[in-house]
């Protein structure tokens, strides 16, 4: 991959929580339309890493560039990057006081300064894409977990982002709902979106990922295409991790 292709460039990234060294010398480039799956044991820094990309966490050393913009304290740049990077959370984090449609049209109206009519039109299109247009006037509390997560995906897509970050999007879901959310994500991947997905759904990783990254103790231990990653893991830590999650 040549340098000009990469949409995210992270180099020598270090992050501490107080004295705790959460991310250690992370180097990572993500190409346009590339799909990356990050896995690793709990507490290894997966969430911290992707949350640094849209500045939900502040890093102390190293640099992060998103679409050519360097992440600094500049609020304007942060807002610009955030409206270009969508994020989907483990616990959905929909706004409970707003309807599904309002959840989706909020940011286009207030951040992109679109008219309400235009924003709602686009929101409806995206709700159709995640296959819940009939729930538009309901409140999040009235939906199932799987439906809520699909609304959350639609809400992020309404900003027409170039990059989508997913932090364990199916971990809080009942098994029968995992499938519907993964299907939506696969469709999104097929449409050419750049995606970074933290997940332990190895079937999804195998099907979608261009590259799988294994993290442990704040470091990238190894990265490879899915086939090599599953067949010939290099490090012992990766082998141990894979044996643990694939045995289930």
């Amino acid at each position: 991959m040549t340098k000009s292709d990469s949409i995210i460039k992270i180099s020598k990234l270090n992050k501490w929580y107080g004295k705790f060294h959460a991310l250690k010398d992370i180097d990572l480039s993500v190409g346009r339309t590339e799909k990356i799956v990050i896995c690793g044991p709990s507490g290894s820094g997966k969430s911290t890493l992707i949350r640094c990309i849209n500045r939900l966490e502040v890093h102390q050393e190293g640099s992060i560039q998103v679409d050519g913009i360097e992440l600094t304290d500049d609020i304007k740049q942060i807002t610009e990057i955030r409206s270009d990077v969508g994020m989907v959370f483990q616990h959905f984090n929909l706004f409970p006081h707003l309807t599904v449609l309002e959840n989706c049209s909020l940011a286009p109206i207030w951040v992109r300064k679109k008219s309400k009519v235009e924003a709602e039109e686009m929101a409806m299109q995206l709700l159709e894409k995640v296959r819940i247009p009939d729930q538009a006037d309901k409140y999040p509390g009235q939906l199932s977990g799987g439906q809520q997560q699909r609304v959350a995906i639609a809400r992020a897509l309404c900003m027409q982002p170039r990059i989508m970050l997913f932090d364990e999007p199916t971990s809080a879901l009942d098994p029968e709902m995992i499938k519907e959310v993964l299907e939506t994500m696969i469709e999104l991947a097929d449409s050419g979106m750049t995606m970074i997905v933290v997940t332990h759904e190895m079937g999804f990783a195998n099907r979608v990922a261009d590259r799988i990254i294994f993290m442990d103790e704040g470091q990238i231990v190894e990265q490879n295409d899915p086939e090599s990653f599953f067949k010939n893991p290099e490090s012992d830590r990766t082998k141990l991790f894979l044996s643990q999650i694939l045995d289930h």
Binding site: N54, L56, I75, T79, R82, S83, V85, G86, M87, F89, H91, N93, L94, F95, P96, H97, L106, A107, I109, W110, V111, K113, K114, S115, K116, V117, E118, A119, Y139, G141, Q142, R155, A156, M159
Partner: protein, 409 residues
């Protein structure tokens, strides 16, 4: 006895729990609950009726015939503070004393509610801030004023602080056009000089306020359709102020403000909130604001971290996040208990007896009752007054809750 209660409970409640199907009418739960209710209503009415009978009998023993005829008798005592109705010793009747008491209660309640809300939100926001000092200060404030008996606080401020430390009128503390001294707070009051023109001026003001709401709706529609937003609040406020001031001069100053001026020994002009009212208002404000601050803290804390992260991740700026996500969610938690605090404040104002503020319990349920002996009617009217306040509060709360239910479910 205990066995009887248990058997009673089993008989009436068990089939509700186990869902036994009724075989005859006495086992039909609907029929039975109707019977129980009828018996209860009878017991309640009978109790009140016999209480009423006994009281009337006892009063008559003492030569007091229960009747409302004393309403129109002249009250033989002085009510010193009556800013809304004219009090004239030897002319004012008992029923007018009742109205004065009610208005005085409502006055301190309204003043207290406004001040306690402002102070409570301020302290509650400090309590939720990231500043260590502000947070600890607010915590100590809340803990101290919420947990001390209110009567003690009223007496503390009145006797230990204001009466003891406030200067005589000549050395009043000055707050702009307000002066605070040992007798109370001197305030400016508006004086209407030309009643007709004043009404015209008020009409113009009300008209421009209505117009600003129409403007607001129009601007909202425009934003929905085109995405272009206007600084509605700023425009409306400046237009209202400009119209208000210019029409005031065009109409030839229909009212004037009477400022308190220090004379030889005391203030001339302006109005006075007597010290008992000031102390009571101050104590009620401080006490109630501690509860409201706690509601505000709980409301802000009820907005989860995930909500804030989601708002940041879609690119909302901080002010947008506060306005669109935090405040709407926090207010749902803050408003219902705060409305109950307003009712509490109103009821608590009856502790004014301790400092001699002339609200309804003092001038009506105490002095008027002692003078006339008409316990039944006087107490009933006082209860009904507070009951109306309470019903009004639940009415407002129900409207609010219904609105929330519609928009949240």
């Amino acid at each position: 006895m205990v066995k009887g209660i248990i058997a009673f409970g089993q008989y009436f409640l068990l089939d509700k729990i186990v869902g036994r199907s009724p075989s005859n009418i006495y086992q039909n739960p609907k029929f039975r609950s109707a019977i129980i209710q009828a018996i209860l209503v009878f017991i309640v009415f009978y109790t009140f009726y016999s209480l009423y009978q006994t009281t009337v009998f006892n009063l008559e023993e003492r030569g007091i015939k229960t009747s409302t005829s004393f309403f129109d008798q002249v009250a033989p005592f002085k009510v010193g503070f009556s800013p809304f109705l004219n009090f004239e010793l030897g002319e004012t009747t008992y029923i007018e004393v009742f109205y004065i008491g009610v208005l005085n209660t409502l006055l301190v309640a309204v003043l207290g509610i406004i001040a306690a809300t402002l102070l409570g939100f301020f302290i509650g926001i400090l309590r939720s801030s990231n500043n260590w000092l502000a947070q600890k200060f607010a915590l100590i404030y809340v803990e101290i004023f919420r947990n001390m008996p209110l009567l003690l606080q009223i007496m503390f401020w009145n006797f230990a602080i204001f009466l003891a430390f406030l200067p005589p009128p000549k050395q009043s503390l000055e707050f702009g056009a307000f002066y605070l001294n040992g007798r109370g707070l001197q305030t400016p009051v508006p004086i209407v000089e030309n009643n007709f023109l004043f009404k015209v001026w008020l009409g113009i003001l009300i008209f421009s306020i209505i117009a600003s709401f129409i403007f607001r709706n129009w601007a909202k529609k425009r934003r929905d359709q085109t995405g272009k937003s206007l600084p509605v609040l700023g425009i409306s406020l400046s237009v209202i102020i400009i119209i208000g001031i210019s029409s005031f001069y065009i109409l030839g100053k229909p009212f004037a403000v009477d400022l308190p001026v220090l004379g030889k020994f005391n203030f001339k002009g302006g109005g006075q909130l007597p010290l008992p009212l000031f102390s009571l208002w101050f104590a009620l404000t401080v006490y109630t604001s501690a509860f409201i601050a706690e509601n505000v803290r709980a409301g802000i804390a009820s907005v989860s971290k995930g909500q804030i992260e989601a708002a940041r991740s879609i690119g909302l700026t901080r002010p947008q996040m506060v306005k669109l996500i935090i405040i709407p969610q926090a207010l749902r938690v803050i408003i219902p208990p705060t409305i109950s605090q307003y009712l509490n404040l109103t009821k608590n104002s009856s502790l004014a007896m301790a400092v001699g503020y002339e609200e309804v319990v003092a001038v009506w349920a105490n002095i008027s009752l002692n003078q006339t002996g008409q316990a039944l009617i006087i107490i009933a009217m006082t209860i009904i007054f507070f009951e109306i306040c309470s019903l009004f509060t639940s009415f407002i709360l129900n409207i609010y809750n219904r609105r929330i239910q519609i928009t949240e479910r």
